[in-house]
Each structure stands twice: as C-alpha cells, then as structure tokens.
C-alpha cells in the first residue's frame, strides 16, 4: 500500500518550507530513514529522512517550491499492509489547529461576492473577532466571517451566529473555471532572491556605474590553455579562460589599485586594498552567489584554478559558508558560459569594479593584415565612478586585454 509523507514542522512553529532538492527518484527502493531530499526552512537547511521503507511512487512537490507544513510531498509504496495511521491533528508548539486544518480535507472555499447580509459586512479589512469554535465552523462551511453579524462580547462572532448564518445562505459552488487556466504565477520574494534584489538596488543606486568594453583576439590564450591542460601540474583541474582572466586581472590590479578599493561613506575615506579577495559570481540552484577566493594575489595559476573549481562547486551545492560570501574586494562574472557576448554587470556592493567575461568563440578577424578565423572575446568592466576615473578604468581594461591577447606578457609581471 502507499503512504504519503507530509511536510512536518521542522523547527518550532514554522508554517512552510522550500523543497530544495530530491535525493531519490520514482521507482527507487529506499530504506527507513534514508535521506530523500533537502528542505530549507526559515531556520535551517535540513535533510529529510524517509519515515517508511519501500518504493518511491511519486514525488508530489517540485524542487524549488515552497509548500505549507502538512502538504504531502512524496508517496511511497510499502510492503506492510499496515492500516493508514489515524489522522493525527498535529498540535505542536507554535501552529495550532488552524494550520493543521489546512491539510485535513479539501473544502469549499468562499468564492466571489458573498450573498450574505450586506448590513453585517465589514469592509475595513481587519480579521473579524470570533471565537475559535466559530472560526472552525465557518471554515468548515466555507463562510467568510466578515459577513456574519456577531452577537458575542464586543460584537464577536459566536458559533451560534455562524450556524444561523449558514441556515440563511448557501454559498455557491465554485465554478472551477478560475483554476483551469492559470495565466500568472505569483512567487513570494524571499531568501536569496530577496537578498540579491536588495544588494543590486543598493549597489545600482549608490555607486555611479560606468561600463567599458574591449573586444580582443585571444587565440594565443586559447592555445596556451590547451598546452597547460596537458601539464601534470594541471591534471584533474578545469583549466578555463576564466582562470587566465582571473590571473591577468590580479596582475592588472597591481598597477591600477583604485579598482581594488571601496568607498567608505561613513568615514569619508577611500579604502584601497593591498590584497585581492576575488569574487566569482556563480549561478546556484538557490540563486546568484558571489563567493570569493581569499588572498588571491598570492596564488599561482594552478592554485587559482583549483580555488575557482572548489569555490563554485561549494557554492552550487549550497554549502558555501558565510566567510566565503563576505569580504570580497573585486569580482568577475562569467556570462560567456551562457553563450552571450558581454554585459554591463552591477557591482557587488562595497566593491569598486567587476570584470565581465563574454563567450570565447571563433570569429572573422583581421590578423597580420589579413582576414583570418581567430578566437575572439569581449571583456567589459563596470566600475564605481566615485572611486575610479575613466583613465584608470580604461588602463585596467586594456592591460587585462593585452595580457589575454599575448599571455607571454603575463610573464613580465610574475
């Protein structure tokens, strides 16, 4: 027989949680307490152990969905012909029978304009005063308490009021057409989305952004990367244009320190950093994260490759620690992985520059006076014009571009 596992209250008094990921799939045989997935509540990211051994029949909630406590999330076929557990009304700390009632059975909802007595209608939008028994009775009958005239203390609605109201008006059956075609989805703004939005607004409206672009022939860099991949030192690492760009950027910052700085409004100071905590924007299942590599200026190319690989893997698995997400001094965003040419990135708040790497592709290019097929990419940099002038920003960008055009010139700075 099949058992449904309902989302429990995982903290004290939580009403909902987001299903982050499933660790099992339909048809899979699972054991008691085997981890079936991860959910994120307002308090913590937790693993859910299965309360039943058996075979997964259906996953009832899609990853990324936020569902109320009590929602069935998975159906598991079990061997045991155990009778369905009696429906407990979970009255745990913090959520009372009201929340529990959500899951008990499908109910008729009050729909459309009520046909109740208009003289009793409350229009101020406040929750009407009513006894708990009256609320339950009203919910069970699909009656909106706002249209019931109260006879209790201070006009509170009593259970008798609900009963007599029910005797007079019958709520219309829901027509069903409203649910069949859903033309819009309303997603509450929360979690990473909310924080990203706040950070972007803060950055975009405090730091005056300037963005510059340069398109360059990176054929030699592409060839260099091919050769590096064959070296034993780079074995097992992902050697990508991003790592070379990161290295070139760190070198270029030495001559252009104003891009590795921050504007301290409170103290009216510009803080120039003599170290580079290099942020790498990463698209993770939970949203945009910018973990940073600490003291990146002291890393060799091998170490940088390894750090980038590990950092983005950690961020994507949602295991990035707060320390990895704070303290960045300058950032890179690699929109090229999505196949686009370039972008005008918004600064990570508190930083003065962000470099954007576009896709690296074969294009027609004038090479040594002739049209040739070359590896070409576009770099852009956005900088905070309070701290950085066009001169420094341009010098920085052209310096990075020069090193990528001819990576041998990187050697001059090592």
């Amino acid at each position: 027989m099949a058992q449904e596992f309902r989302l429990p209250d995982l903290g004290e008094g939580l009403t909902e949680a987001e299903l982050v990921s499933w660790a099992v799939e339909v048809g899979q045989t699972i054991e008691l307490n085997q981890v079936i997935g991860e959910v994120e509540t307002a308090k913590a990211l937790v693993e859910l152990p299965s309360p039943y051994p058996g075979v997964v029949e259906e996953l009832l909630v899609a990853p990324g969905a936020t569902v109320p406590v009590g929602t069935p999330i998975i159906r598991i076929a079990t061997d045991a012909a155990t009778p369905e557990a009696p429906a407990r009304t979970p009255v745990l700390v913090g959520y009372g029978p009201e929340a529990a009632a959500e899951s008990k059975r499908a109910r008729r909802r009050s729909v459309g304009p009520e046909t109740g007595r208009p003289e009793a209608a409350r229009t101020d939008g406040r929750r009407p005063d009513a006894s708990p028994a009256a609320r339950l009775a009203a919910r069970e009958r699909g009656i909106d308490l706002a249209v019931v005239a109260g006879t209790g203390p201070s006009g509170a609605v009593t259970r008798n009021d609900v009963e007599s109201h029910a005797g007079q008006s019958v709520p219309p059956e829901p027509s069903g057409t409203a649910e069949t075609v859903q033309r819009e989805t309303r997603t509450p703004i929360r979690g990473v989305r909310k924080q990203t939005a706040a950070a972007m607004v803060r950055s975009a409206f405090t730091a005056p952004h300037v963005t510059e672009f340069v398109t360059i022939d990176v054929t030699r860099s592409v060839e260099l990367l091919d050769r590096l991949r064959d070296l034993p030192e780079f074995e097992g690492l992902s050697v990508t244009p991003l790592s070379l760009v990161a290295k070139a950027m760190i070198v270029a910052l030495r001559a252009n320190p104003s891009l590795n700085a921050s504007w301290d409004e409170e103290n009216q100071e510009i803080v120039t950093k003599h170290y580079v905590n290099l942020g790498i924007a990463a698209a993770t299942p939970r949203g945009l994260m910018v973990p940073n590599i600490k003291e990146a200026q002291s890393l060799s190319l091998v170490e940088l490759c390894r750090a980038i690989t590990e950092l983005t893997a950690t961020a994507r698995s949602g295991k990035a620690e707060p320390a990895q997400l704070t303290g960045g001094t300058v950032s890179i965003t690699n929109v090229g992985v999505f196949g686009v040419d370039t972008g005008t990135p918004i600064l990570n708040p508190g930083e003065a520059a962000i470099l954007c790497l576009g896709s690296v592709g074969k294009r027609p290019w004038v090479h040594e006076g002739e049209l040739a097929v070359r590896w070409v990419t576009t770099l852009s940099v956005s900088f905070d014009h309070r701290v950085v002038d066009g001169e420094q920003g341009s010098r920085f960008l052209s310096s990075v571009a020069a090193m990528l055009h001819d990576p041998a010139s990187l050697l001059a700075h090592l």
């Binding site: 596992f5 309902r6 989302l7 429990p8 209250d9 995982l10 903290g11 004290e12 307490n33 308090k43 913590a44 990211l45 937790v46 693993e47 859910l48 152990p49 299965s50 309360p51 557990a85 407990r88 979970p90 009255v91 745990l92 700390v93 006894s131 708990p132 028994a133 339950l136 009775a137 069970e140 009958r141 259970r159 295991k319 620690e321 707060p322 320390a323």
Partner: protein, 365 residues
C-alpha cells in the same frame, strides 16, 4: 590544580593508545576487556538512539530534540560511575545518561512529542526528567544532596549542565550553597564549546573549571571524549561526595557535533573546518581504536553491538509513534498531587471551551 585545569585528564589518546597516568588509571583498574566492550556498546547504542530521535523529529513525530552527537563519552563515562542509589539531575541533552540509568528508550521521547509532561518515573531509576530551564537542575541537585547529607545517606548527587549554564544565576547559587553546606554534589559540566551559537570563550575568558575556585570548590578538567578518563574522574568525585568531603566540579571538554536542537543550523555560526578537527577526536572512534589495539574486537562482538543499537533504536521509534495522544483534559492531571480549586476551575473552563466545537465536523461528514 593549575596543571590539571590546563591539561585535561586523558587516559586514551585519539589514536587509541593509553596514556600513562597511574593516579587515574588506578581508579579504573577493574575495567577489563569485558567492561571496555560494554562501554563501547553503550557509546554506539547512545548514538544510534539519538540519530533515530533526530530522524523522528524530521519526520514530524517529535516537536523538538536536542541531539547529543559527539558527547557520548562524557555522558556514558560519568553515568557508569554512578551507583544505583546515586541520583542524577539532567538537562535536556543527557539521553545517554538516561539510557545508562535504565530508562526505557520507548518512553524517552514522550515529552519531546508533547504527549506527556514527563517521560519516566524519576524515582524508579534515580534520574530526573529533562530540565529545559537552563541551570535549574543545579539547585535541585544541591537541595537533594543537602537532604541526603542531613539524612546521613552515603550517596552522591550529580548535576549535569553545559558551558552556557555556568553563566546562569541558578548555577552560581547552587555552587555557593553546596560549598557552604558541604553537599555531596558532583557538578558535571559538559563544555561542548557552544551555548547555542555563543562560543565558550565568550562565556568565560578562563577555563570553565577555574570558575569553581571562586567558591573554594576543587575542580578539574577531563577529556570529555575519553570515556575511560571521564569514568575515572567521576568515580573519584562521587567517592568524595559519598565520604562527606563535599562537592567537586568537573569540566568535561567535548564538542557538540550537531545542532543545538533540531531547530538550529550550526553552519550559520561555525566553520566546517572546526567541526573537522573534532571529528578526528570522535569518542566512539577512539574507543574502537583502543579495542582494536588491544585485540578486543571481533566480528561477533561488533554484530552484538549493532544488534543492541538497532534494537534500542527500534524500541525508541515504536515507543514514539505508538504513544497515544493524551486527552486534552489530561493537561491538568499532574500539576498538583492533590486536588486544587484553581486547577478545577481551569479544567471546567477548558472543558466548556472544547464542548463549543462539538459536532462541527460530524455535521458535514
């Protein structure tokens, strides 16, 4: 004494080698191969039981649970030092102490499930039910010990609490009273490094054990992940108490490897690197290495340990999911041992309130 505080007493190193400490080794001379195996079994069973309870909370069967993961040796070692007529006053994390005292795993979760005020009869096993109010049990232990002292009973009382509780007034009072009245109490602090999210160095700039000096109380630190060392020092302290030599303060240095409770997310306040360091000091691994070195591990023995642990976990699970929901009016039953007019009044009010719901669901079904 300063030396003891700076270097916690240790009898087994993390790699399983013994430490040469004749003064403390003599206290556990009777712990031979069979007793070592039993201690290992206790540690494994305690962890297995705790893991099951955490799973039950994640499955919605418990409202809350305070995991003991990482603190098994501190609890098993100290609880196994007690005699049947000694009395333990515990906080909310001492599931292994309760287990060692003989509490049925099948009833252990009742309070956490919210289906009873308490889980077991304290006087049947001489261990109290979990105290949720931080540090309050220190006073209860002191009071009980003072009574025992006045009765001339040769018993020891042990109060379990954490590093955070040492910042509570209740515990300060308990330490003061117990010294003034020479009460036979062992104050057993499991310094698990965190008071929820507050690291211990914000509780006290000096080792917690050093606080006892302010009360004139002898104190020592012990490696809380070393079950043998904990057993030795607790035996010494309980013996002092029984002999009428007064209280002792023990700081067992350990680490809470899991969250504070199932509602907590420790990754928000501590680094994974720190947890890794303590994983290398895991109390169960350490005991296993000792048994391995001394040739005491066999497949047969390990199978026995696994069977015990699984049985304990199964008992905890069945006891939890099968526990009947109490009738709402049972809430008033055990507030006082005798009738009380105010409770009667509240009971009636609540009964009338519940009666107001009668028939709502039936009417529609």
């Amino acid at each position: 004494m300063v030396d003891k505080i700076a270097y916690p007493v240790q009898l087994i190193q993390p790699d399983g080698r013994r430490v040469f400490r004749p003064d403390y080794t003599s206290l556990v001379r009777d712990i031979g191969p069979d007793q070592l195996r039993d201690l290992y079994e206790d540690l494994v069973a305690a962890r297995r039981m705790d893991v099951e309870a955490v799973a039950l909370q994640r499955q919605g069967e418990l409202g809350l649970w305070a995991p003991l993961l990482g603190q098994e040796a501190a609890q098993v070692g100290s609880a196994r030092a007690l005699r049947p007529d000694d009395y333990a006053f515990i906080s909310y994390r001492e599931h292994a102490v309760a287990y060692c005292r003989g509490v049925d795993p099948g009833v252990m979760t009742r309070m956490w499930r919210g289906c009873a005020h308490s889980a077991w009869d304290p006087s049947s096993v001489n261990v109290t039910n979990p105290a949720i109010v931080v540090g309050s049990q220190g006073l209860h232990a002191t009071g009980y010990a003072m009574g025992a002292h006045l009765d001339g009973a040769e018993i020891a009382t042990i109060a379990y609490f954490g590093d955070g509780a040492t910042s509570q007034g209740d515990l300060a009072e308990a330490l003061g009273f117990s010294m003034s009245f020479n009460a036979p109490v062992v104050f057993f602090c499991q310094n698990n490094q965190f008071a929820i999210s507050e690291p211990v160095h914000l509780q006290s700039p000096v080792p917690i054990a050093q606080r006892a000096a302010g009360y004139g109380m002898p104190a020592l630190r012990v490696d809380g992940n070393d079950v043998l060392a904990v057993l030795a020092v607790t035996r010494q302290a309980t013996q002092r108490a029984r002999e009428g030599s007064g209280p002792t303060f023990i700081e067992a240095v350990t680490y809470r490897m899991g969250p504070h409770t199932t509602s907590d997310d420790p990754t928000r306040y501590r680094a994974a690197a720190e947890t890794e360091i303590w994983k290398a000091r895991d109390p169960i691994d350490r005991m296993r290495r000792l048994l391995e070195r001394e040739g005491l591990l066999s497949d047969e023995f390990l199978a026995r340990v696994q069977a015990t642990a699984d049985a304990v976990a199964a008992r905890l699970r069945s006891g939890t999911v099968e526990a009947p929901d109490p009738a709402p009016l049972d809430l008033f039953d055990h507030v006082y041992s005798t009738d009380h007019p105010l409770i009667d009044e509240e009971r009636e009010q609540y009964a009338a309130y519940l009666a107001g719901f009668a028939g709502i669901e039936e009417a529609l079904s």
